[in-house]
Assembly symmetry: C2
Homo-oligomer: 483 residues x 2
């Protein structure tokens, strides 16, 4: 066949294209695997068939293939049919409700990571996991397979700790306080966090107000070796990369099979070498976990999975009824974090962070963990540590200005705050442009239980421009209920 | 955004590509739907994200999109996020085991046909059907949806009949005899057939020895109006096109959910307007249907589905233990067909065809159908009709030469033929190059029950070249068992 370079890439999967007449002559079908040989080099690609894009006798090659084989237009190559990879048969087994063993799961994950499986095939794997679930052994093997087939953080430290929150709570920026407290006490906590997906700001977004959050594995190692901690984005392609590829295929139907979710979380902790892990599960009608029953179910799963993986896991079930801290949105949250580190209020965020840091201290053997955490925080050592981490991440602490475009939402009556709706808070902040618009967001003057007079400012809405502020107004009534 | 035309097409689905930085700014994800506006025209496409293919501020557009909006490089377009189509939610319901109603199934099929669903989403639909099956109502609604969203044959005839075989039996070319018999008697039978997929030759391949088999719906209507019948390929994109798209997604895991299979068959019959349908289910260890139990199960499904759809269905369960006719492979089968039409032997193919034609005569009200079919065949009227159909399909009956490259396989002992293995027959013929190599194939001198002496020629293998013949030799021992 004569090569025709197609100036297109898939971002991973190797694709070649045949004219439909040629394909039919060769008994090849779309999605078959084809080996392409050029001299002594060869590579396997997935076949696409087109009725106009390539001519008879031509093989269209995507960028991934032409780069790999160093092909030029009109090069001659040989092609041959290749059997399906073994992982396809294991996926079929999962779709038929069978339990997969370690080797089978590893084969699937390896082929996902190395782009040997196409999106349809991965979708069938996710269907199988969605329908039949994964048992403890399978989740543990999936976790290990994700870790084994990606890069790991290499810190040469014995006591590495970590924390995770199941999420959904606006403003819940405990990591930015816990990491400096623990790191200041000599524990090693290489914290990787997510960016906002459905929330106004993730820890990586809020940290991004001060400094860089995207680093290579080598750079992360350097930061942690110097400061004992880091607060970086966990999405680097080097760590747990199977994860991203599975999540991409889950998105169209918003599937989130529990087993894959558990493996996804645990693989991130495993790949940074954590031996002690505290998991925070906020429960509330508008949190990600809505019932105590569900929280207990997840708690058991995490603890048992930790045992399998050799990670000591403790789970804290927390109040997820309202935002944590006063501000929601990258800059407002960053301000809250600084206030806590400087002993300047924001009690709920402070208390929760100290509580969690204390639990981690106790997990590694300290007595009175909470007291120790509070001492470090109030001594200012954790603020110093935070500045050190921010500097290592190529930033500095600066005074952050808030937007002038704002709106005071006042209480229409006297009474007590009964509830704050996380979902509407999230929605309003998204409309305001969070997390892209860093200064946008909501600042709460009161939280649940607070007593207000008619006309009190319940919260302040900050926006980058007036148009967005206006768009959000109709939703504001639903945020706080006073009774 | 500034348009960048990407010289690539998907063959249907509209795809646009954004730089990953832009996508992240706009909170867009791979596989999201985006509306692209150019002046007053707009179209919805599925988003792909690339880290190198398009620059910041650029929107890469596939051919389907640039053709539709008549875009040129550097045109300015606006983009906006579009909610997922309703069909996505119905697919999720099916994946959760729910039963879909008529509107929901129609929505899915419509979106499949109009390329509004991507391959991942279709894979989830197939997963749901594979796991939970489709009940009678669902299969009926799926059939109607496939038909309603494609073109139908418009013949203005009252009595349209059809036949179908569940397949797997080499040489089973009854359609090429049944169609001319029935058409000669004034029944209308617009027969569409498949090309070989896993067999050495399909009816469309064997018919292809004489004439064209690929026609548009308009052309098929013309042929049938003139001759009462046709023998064409059923794969034209105009008829039942959802079918092809579902089958493409089933292939990677070789899934074949029964409900989709039934709807696929019935939609083809429904879209040609058939009111009477005879289905042949050959049963045998090496046939597609391996047990009588399975055959009875399918029989009931077909009959009940026919009732729902207003098609009178009769099912014949036939002997599927060995090939039908003497020859296997396009030319050898074509020769068998001509011999039957000219009253020159090939008794098994003749008997089965007359039997089936007779059953169809009886379905539409004739008494002694078998006798009537035999009379027409032996009178030569069906041969005349066959020639007429071949001519209308732009071909003519010609004397077909067999290949000189052949091999006589002789019996190693005296005895009776106990079995013939359809699977090995198929495999050998594929190695010989069937159906592409029209002259290649196997000619049987004996069938099951035949008495042979040591040294008798059991069968003759025909090949296009010596290399392929040699490749097939090692398998020949397994074809016929003498005892």
């Amino acid at each position: 066949m004569k090569v025709r370079i197609l100036d297109i890439s898939t971002g991973g999967i190797k694709v070649v294209v045949l004219n439909d007449e040629d394909a039919s002559k060769l008994n090849l079908y779309a999605l078959d695997r084809i080996r392409i040989r050029k001299d002594k080099k060869s590579v396997v690609a997935i076949l696409d068939i087109s009725d106009g894009m390539v001519r008879k006798g031509e093989l269209g090659v995507f960028k991934e293939v032409s780069d790999f084989l160093k092909l030029k237009n009109k090069d001659k190559v040989k092609i041959e049919y290749v059997e399906k990879p073994k992982s396809i048969y294991y996926i079929k087994e999962k779709l038929d409700g069978e339990i997969l063993n370690k080797e089978e799961i590893n084969e699937i994950v390896k082929d996902v990571i190395h782009d040997k499986l196409n999106e349809i095939e991965i979708a069938y794997f996710i269907s199988g996991c969605y329908k039949y679930g994964l048992d403890l052994e399978e989740v543990s093997n999936l976790t290990k397979a994700i870790v084994d087939n990606s890069r790991k953080l290499n810190l040469n430290k014995k006591v590495i700790v970590d924390k995770h929150s199941s999420g959904g709570i606006p403003g819940n920026r405990t990591s930015m306080i816990i990491v400096p407290i623990l790191a200041a006490a000599g524990l090693v906590i290489p914290k990787t966090s997510s960016k906002a997906i459905t929330s106004p700001s993730g820890t990586a977004d809020t940290m991004g107000v001060f400094c860089n959050v995207e680093f290579t594995v080598k750079e992360i190692e350097k930061i942690v070796k110097k400061t004992n901690g880091c607060l970086v984005w966990g999405g680097t392609k080097e760590l747990a990369s199977a994860d991203d590829k599975l999540i991409k295929i889950e998105r169209p139907l918003s599937l989130d099979p529990e087993g894959i979710m558990l493996a996804s979380i645990m693989s991130k902790k495993f790949s940074v070498g954590a031996k002690y892990l505290l998991i925070d599960i906020p429960v509330g009608r508008n949190a990600k976990v809505k019932s105590m029953k569900r929280a207990m179910h997840l708690k058991n799963k995490f603890i048992n999975l930790g045992k399998k993986l050799g990670i000591k896991v403790r789970v804290m079930i927390s109040d997820g009824r309202q935002p944590i801290g006063n501000g929601v949105g990258p800059v407002l949250e960053a301000k809250d974090v600084l206030r806590v580190l400087k002993n300047d209020g924001v009690e709920d965020l402070k208390n929760k962070s100290v509580e969690m840091a204390g639990m981690i201290f106790e997990m590694v053997g300290y007595k009175n963990g909470r007291k120790k955490a509070l001492e470090i925080l109030e001594s200012g050592k954790s603020y110093e540590k935070f500045k050190e981490i921010v500097e290592m991440q190529k930033g500095k602490i600066k005074d952050i200005k808030l937007s002038d475009i704002k709106y005071n939402f006042r209480s229409k009556k006297k009474g007590k705050i009964v509830s704050i709706d996380n979902n509407i808070v999230n929605r309003v902040c998204r409309i305001l442009g969070c997390p892209r618009e860093k200064e946008a967001g909501i600042y709460f003057n009161f939280k649940i239980g607070g007593k207000v007079e008619k006309g009190d400012k319940l919260f302040i809405v900050y926006a980058k421009d007036k148009k967005k502020l206006k768009e959000s107004l109709s939703l504001l009534n639903g945020i706080v209920v006073v009774n």
